[in-house]
Amino acid sequence: MHKTCLFPIGPQHPSLKEPLFLKLYVDGTTVKDAVFDLGYAHRGVEEKLEGKQVDTALHAVQRTCGICSQCHTMAFLRTVEGFAEVEIPDRVALQRVIVAELERIHSHLLWAGVMMHELGLDTLFMYFMREREKILDVFDELTGNRVHHSSDLVGTSKRTFSEENLQFALSTLDSIKENLISYRKTVDSHDVIRDRCIGKGLITKKDAKTFGLVGPVARACNINNDVRVNSPYMGYKMLKLNSIMRTEGDAHARTLVRLDEVFESMNLVEQACNQIPKGSVVPKYPVKRIAQGYGVGASEAPRGENFHFVKVVNGKTARVKLRTPTLANLIMFPEAVKGADITDVPVIVMSLDPCISCMERVAVVKDGKSEVWTSHELFKGEKK
């Protein structure tokens, strides 16, 4: 009988961009079992959101993730504006969509670059990052911020995007489109990339349904669970959107779904810019106080469905629950790497596009007694 030995990836490792401890139990070079240890980037996001006024909570929600800041904002606002019955003008709805879709482009370009780095193709990594940098310049132009855009308020936005702003966004997208087409062609046709990705980290449609996967990971298994299509919100109601789907379910399919989504997002930004009512401005004042209510809302983040539950009591948030897409997809990680060669593990993990810091959660069920957990116990996830 073969014995397995532990091959650690993380918490700090060149293939990981965020701290995560991936324990691989290998027999030779084949992964027999995998365990994910989390807790290295826990920030207590949900706890910090409790007891805040809605506009203050919104400020914190936007900082849950450095990549999908706008999508958290949209899920939170969709929830709050839903139960508070706040109507938003078309301009605000479309402005939010523009920022969200630009965010999807920048997230997918960042991901594609890192994926190429995992494959050993650092030049393409640099080229993807170069194009992404231009999108960050567009954020700067539109919202005044490159990472945490913080451009929205309940019922309105902080800024009215001017005609020049929108033209800058469109011309930037035009300028990167040609390069991105050639990068996509390289990724799709390069023999070594195909060899490393096709058939790796295979997830069947049945498994994807069973485990409730979301986002591009599910769409690469031919499951259309795009919130923008199934439950259109804000400006998406006014736009024509095609879901990018593939049937293969492997790392290569996930790569192509994301790269094709970049072009679809460019199309959406173009549609939104053209549909913004000329001469309109956003309302000057936000809805200042929401006394109470609760509700749920979802938005389609770059990694998949971003689900928020918000409960407001006496003008303050009593509970905010965020289910980020990685939290939904994480269950599939150990299954995807089982049976793979160690060589393929970074590629498979990266193809699932984990975002660790916005996913870290700790659930403590209180029974009236206080408990003190050491940081080590938190890492292990169990009390001695």
Binding site: C5, L6, F7, P8, H13, P14, S15, G28, T29, M116, H117, E118, L119, G120, L121, D122, T123, M126, Y127, R130, H190, V192, I193, D195, R196, D341, I342, T343, D344, V345, P346
Partner: protein
Amino acid sequence: MIEFVLAFAFIIISIFFAGIFRKFIARMHNRVGPPIIQPFYDLIKLFSKKTTKYKNPIFHAVPYASIITSIVIIILISSAFVGTDSLFDFDYNFLVLGYLFILVDTFYIFGAVASRSPFAIQSSMRELLLMLGYELSFMMVLSIFFAKTGIVSLADFDVEFAFVQAPVASILLVLIGFVIVRITPFDVVNAETELSAGFFAEYYGKDLALLEIAEFIKDLAFGLMAGLLLFGKVFALPAALGFVFFYALMQATSPRYCTFRTAKIFLIIAILAFIDLFLLV
């Protein structure tokens, strides 16, 4: 004596070549990149660090064994430029050179196993797997060049543009260089994203500096040897610089094959080398 002076000059040049390699890759990446003398700064920094003795004695012996072997390699290469007066000019010294290249990698494997790091051990497993393919083919390819020209020592090898006489062996030699110099798509042995620093995962300070110098020397020695065999003595150094640019170009433009695909390709290379040698005999 001249070969020692020449070898010393080559050692300094090898560190510059490492800087040129990095700079060229950076330009391919659309970056400014580090200055060409950055490897010197890195080595000075590493030599200034304290090294604590806490591992197996083999672990600490390997950097010294590797650097000594690399220096012997570069002295042997230098002897080819000195001519028949050299102390190191003896019959079939090219075979010794081939074995010394393989010996350096064997020392790395000893060091990796002694370190007990899972990354280094995986790296050594991959190296052993690849050795089955490239070690034998490397020796066969070297033999083809000398058999075709009828020369038996490096110092006597004064044939220019020998690649015309042995085209298949020339291509195979360049391909084998991908593994020896550790360039994508065949750099599975120290694949950063999987194995961190591979063989050198547990090394730091002076030990790591010695290993890095050994690698620099080995890379230049391979370039000089390939330049000597393919283009002749006069063009050996420019050809070595040409190989730096060629391998940097490949490093920048090619992703990495998986381990087993690399092993399969090198098995095919070994078969081709064998056929080429067989046809010659």
